[in-house]
């Protein structure tokens, strides 16, 4: 029977009153040098696998632990779901994890310090194609023409109309992306592009980003988004957070590594 360690997060110091983790597991702290530690539970089984609803519940329980630690200590490097340190041939999992904490202690420490009192905000901006299309003379003309056509022809025309609306909106999205990105960058310490979400029906995605922002600078982002919404009635904005810095737990800075 091997015993692995399921890792929730890397933290600074030794947070107390951790509560419980996934499925009520007892949480422990594995300490490394430089006041860097990992929050774990002992895990004898393999990775979590199960029905979607179970996975959702586990992910939420994982994120609850990350949140609690974050609120207690003000900084955290969240681990992905299902990161489990295995027992080695000769080495217990705890020793392997300590070894890893030791090897990366300085970088982990620096990152934890840099993320102190920072929050992640997620911003998704899309454009409503009907609203954008309504401002385009070609779309309006096609719409008017559609009304005059017999029922049989309309279906095909609607398809073409939808296509034209999307093209017009996509061109506007290209233009707006630069501007919105620049404005959001100006109010963030770091910015990372997320995989583009599937926008709703009739919405063309412009940008999907995570922002790293000092906690007291959150209202500035809200004002920028309100301004964008006021200027562009067709904008569809999703604004989530504040979260622990999930998207910024990796490499400092957004500078891509050198391309040889």
């Amino acid at each position: 029977m091997t015993t692995g360690l399921y890792v929730y997060a890397v933290v600074a110091g030794e947070p107390a009153d951790l509560g419980t983790g996934i499925d009520g597991a007892a949480l422990e702290v594995v300490t490394g040098p430089d006041d860097v530690a990992a929050v774990v539970h002992r895990h004898a089984a393999g990775p979590y696998e199960g029905a979607d609803d179970d996975v959702r519940r586990w992910v939420v329980e994982h994120s609850d632990v990350v949140e609690r630690v974050w609120e207690r200590t003000g900084t955290v490097l969240p681990m992905s779901f299902n990161v489990i340190v295995a027992e080695g041939e000769e080495t217990p999992a705890r020793a392997r994890l300590q070894e890893w904490l030791g090897a990366g202690a300085q970088q982990l420490r620096e990152r934890l310090d840099a993320l102190k009192d920072r929050v992640e905000l997620r911003v998704e901006i899309g454009l409503d194609q009907h609203q954008v299309g309504g401002r385009n003379p070609d779309v309006v003309a096609m719409q008017a023409e559609l009304e005059t056509r017999p029922q049989g022809v309309r279906r095909l025309m609607r398809k073409r109309l939808d296509q034209l609306e999307r093209e017009v909106t996509d061109a506007l999205a290209d233009e707006r992306y630069q501007q919105y990105r620049r404005r959001l960058a100006a109010v963030s310490e770091e910015l990372s592009e997320n995989r583009s979400a599937r926008p709703g029906e009739g919405v063309v995605s412009v940008l999907t980003v995570s922002l790293l922002v000092p906690r007291d600078a959150v209202p500035g982002v809200g004002r920028e988004l309100a301004a964008i919404q006021d200027e562009e009635p067709a904008a569809v904005i999703r604004y989530l957070g504040p979260w622990p810095p999930y998207s910024f737990a990796d490499v400092p800075g957004l500078t891509a590594p050198t391309m040889a």
Partner: protein
């Protein structure tokens, strides 16, 4: 909630939501890595990688895109080894063969009535491969040393649309490949030292004066940061720069917006030359290992848009 009276003095601000009902999909996306080629379960099965460092999380999330942009070379040895291992579970690779780039694509089987066979195009350190995962089959492949030339060709597709294809000439003849981003794959093959096979008989609709890897300086609240990406400068269209993981280009400047192009010195990831482009809305800063061709292409575009300035070279005394 702000009251109407308060709104008169303070501008309106949107409030972010933490409601689990609304945020759960995003939370799942951020905490689960559903990479087809990589799954974190490897951690407890791959003996010599005891733990995926926190620093790998972004890599995993962006892996598809990173592969599509050929940014593998920028990863550390351990990550590359790990990716190689994951990929080779599907696609057989030689011992020292590395993945350089990967994207959706296909091969046109000219021996069978020109039928397109879709799959994934891999560029490795040794081969160019079109691979189909299910059922597993190498649809086409060539060793890079056998590739004598590669060209982009615009063809009319069955649907009547123009599509850019890759014509790969080898010692066996010329194969036609499709790719999600043919220009990028073409650029990467150029970087591997593979030139054109022949004078292009079918020039591309917009002749790109210059394209390749370029750094761009983005302004954050915390200060400027250099970001890697690819750019195209063309005489008619101006300049477009797109970050490797970005959804859309972050810079699009029409030729007439390129007021001047100068080189300044500064610390950049690509050396000490900063290419500064003055535009009506401010300066845009780029950096490249070899800034010369970029400066020339930008100045050509700038002059083409404003012939009255053609006397000056764009540099200020």
């Amino acid at each position: 909630m702000a009251e109407p009276a308060a709104q008169a003095v303070a501008p309106r601000a949107m409030e972010p939501t933490r409601d689990l009902g609304a945020t759960l999909p995003d939370l799942l996306e951020v905490l689960l890595n559903k990479g087809v080629y990589l799954d974190l379960d490897l951690i407890i099965t791959v003996a010599d990688i005891p733990l995926i460092g926190v620093n790998l999380r972004a890599t995993i999330a962006g892996i598809e895109t990173m592969l599509e942009y050929g940014m593998m070379r920028s990863w550390d040895e351990q990550t590359r080894e790990w990716v190689r291992r994951s990929v080779s579970r599907h696609l057989p690779l030689a011992e020292d063969e590395e993945i350089v780039m990967r994207m959706a694509g296909g091969h046109r089987d000219d021996e069978r009535h020109g039928t397109w066979r879709p799959g994934t195009v891999y560029l490795t350190s040794r081969r160019l491969i079109v691979w189909r995962a299910d059922p597993k089959e190498v649809l086409w492949q060539a060793r890079l040393e056998d590739v004598t030339g590669v060209d982009l060709r615009t063809e009319r597709s069955i649907g009547g649309e123009d599509r850019v294809r890759l014509a790969v000439t080898t010692t066996d003849g010329t194969a036609t490949l499709s790719a999600a981003a043919p220009e990028r794959l073409h650029g990467m093959l150029r970087e591997q030292g593979i030139g054109p096979a022949a004078p292009a008989r079918n020039p591309r609709p917009e002749s790109a004066a210059h394209e390749g890897s370029l750094w761009y300086q983005e302004q954050l609240a915390s200060g400027p940061v250099w970001r890697g990406g690819t750019a195209v400068v063309d005489r008619a269209g101006g300049v477009t720069w797109k970050g490797a993981l970005d959804q859309r280009p972050a810079v699009r400047l029409r030729a007439e917006q390129l007021l001047s192009v100068d080189v300044e010195s500064g610390r950049t990831p690509a050396g000490s030359a900063v290419v500064v482009v003055r535009t009506p809305t401010g300066g845009v800063r780029f950096a490249a290992q070899d800034p010369g061709p970029w400066v020339r292409a930008l100045r050509r575009a700038s002059r083409a848009a404003r012939p009255e300035l053609s006397a000056g070279a764009g540099g200020k005394p």
